[in-house]
């Protein structure tokens, strides 16, 4: 048997029923403000909260960063192509130089898409 109470936590301080619960063990980082549940079982008191919002924010930041990286690589590839053409670099040689950059940009975009899919179906 156990008792479950609604609780909040901030800076590792758990509050339930308007009183702080120093005995509570926070099973997450407990730093940011959160709402969760306090489960008391005999002398043990555990605080649970959902980290989904933290994960959502992390994924969003990673997706943005990957998007920027892919755009940067594409821009670098275009710039190199322009410079190479202007400088009269053999198109075959130039293409060989640009292919790895384009492939890297595609990989980064693909990774960003995968993270977007994961973000869309977070549990």
């Amino acid at each position: 048997m156990s008792k479950t109470l609604r609780a909040t936590c901030e800076a590792n301080v758990v509050t339930a029923e308007s009183v702080t619960v120093p005995a509570a063990r926070v099973l997450s980082m407990g730093i940011g403000e959160s709402e969760g549940i306090l489960v008391i079982d005999e002398e043990r008191a555990d605080y649970f909260t959902s980290n989904a919002s933290d994960l959502d924010e992390s994924l969003e930041a990673m997706i943005d960063a990957l998007g920027s990286a892919a755009s940067g690589l594409s821009a670098a590839s275009s710039a190199l192509s322009t410079v190479g053409t202007t400088a009269g670099v053999n198109p075959i040689v130039l293409a060989a130089l640009l292919v790895p950059i384009s492939a890297a940009a595609s990989s980064v975009e693909s990774a960003a898409d995968t993270l977007s899919e994961i973000k869309a179906r977070l549990k």
């Binding site: 048997m1 156990s2 008792k3 109470l5 339930a16 029923e17 308007s18 009183v19 702080t20 619960v21 120093p22 005995a23 509570a24 008391i40 079982d41 005999e42 002398e43 008191a45």
Partner: protein, 148 residues
Amino acid sequence: MRIVCRHGHIAFYPRYAVEISQFVEYWGVSLIRVDDYFTFAPLAELDRFSLAGLAYGNLTANTTYEGRNPWDVMRENEFVYHIGSSVLLPKSSIAIQVDPTLSSGFWVPATTLVQPGSRNRAGNQILSYSGEYNNHFAELKVSEYSYE
């Protein structure tokens, strides 16, 4: 009717409904049904958990604990029910000495119910006991005392 005191909580287990009504009428108290027993109204309202700093009955709990029954929580908080004033009290505040007499294999207290937290002649604090209450004689025959 069997009376069981566990960690300062008192429960009545009648064999017949009339035993409760007779007891209530004789002693002028109110007993509330909880699960399979009857108890005093303030005890019937107790939760089976406490949060340190939050009210538990008329007192403030000093420990965070969840138990199967209110008497588990009373044990952890070291509270006992005071029969005369119908409130919870810290067990350390009870300064009553009892000296029950032994009769036919049972202990018969001078008062009908033994106040939880009382001390016997040896100085042991009585926190639990069980016995048989006879409505006809308004007498409790205690078969067992426990000091925890």
